[in-house]
Amino acid sequence: MSLTDYDEPLPGRQVALVDLLDRLLSGGVVIAGDIVLSIADIDLVRISLRALIVSVRSETASGTAQDGAGHDR
């Protein structure tokens, strides 16, 4: 139960970034621009970005709320 409280962090005044990135980075019309990150690159970017999201989040969590660490043992 406490885990659930811990993780309702983004009450939706905006769409969740992660839902938006699903659509903006893997959806949308793909046409060759003059400046092109290839699809393969985007996928790589996406993976490293996911890692970034994880690290950013865990930093904020441990930085702001001691009691937030429900899954530490």
Partner: protein
Amino acid sequence: MSTGREPLTYVYAVARRTDRLAVLLAGLRGIDRAPVTLLTEASDSSPAPLAFVTSHVPHEAFNESALRAHFEDLEWLESVARAHHEVVQAVAAEQTVLPLRMATVYQDDDRARQALGEQRSTFARRMAAVDAHTEYGVKIYLPPPAPAEPPAGAPAAEADPAAPTASPGKAYLQRRRVQHRARERTYEQAQRAAATLDAIAARYAVGRVRHAPQSGALTGPQENVLNDAYLVPDEEARDFRAAVAQAAGDFPEIRIEITGPWAPYSFAMPPAESSAPTEGERAP
């Protein structure tokens, strides 16, 4: 050095140029608060010609190497993603829109116009396919598994005070069994929920795209096991949403979340050419 370079042309979406849209866009700002404009191609003489929804972006931030670096910068990415989305949303509120993938950039307006001309028939076909349809996201989350160990400091006997004779080992195994059964029930519900969603999709949606389940702390300890996008005809949207809400109530051990309405991001490409996500069947 590069500060003197001409700005680049960022393309948000394809739309049809109408007077109403032009008025609406006049009050809108895009990335870096730049004015948003419609580019059309001279040879398109239809009354509502296809247009790129664009704005100018600084060359320093959007040339290839800068872009590559920026894509690692979550804050930058979020601000561009939200600006992109806001423009797309504003157009979607007014008419059919075909969002472009994030960071489609041309050297200048002429190059963008040229690209528009080359793809005109493809765009027209996709616009027709998503016209009067809306995208919704539906996700299934499993709750985090209950912890395997008894709470720290709690005596093992506390689990079953009526049977003080049970050995700690036995009590532990029993706990594991209960826990295992609860997990099985959760999985079973998730499977039935997915089947129910399939049926809802078959009834109301004309397209489905499976995005990769979301991982990472943004989704929390709840495990995201399904991350679908559905393309729903506008006249079915209410019933579709009601059916999903009903399913959410029918499977209390898991969480079903609906997002949207979205512009048809996940359906902007025809199924065959769709890249990363796997696209499901499109009913006629």
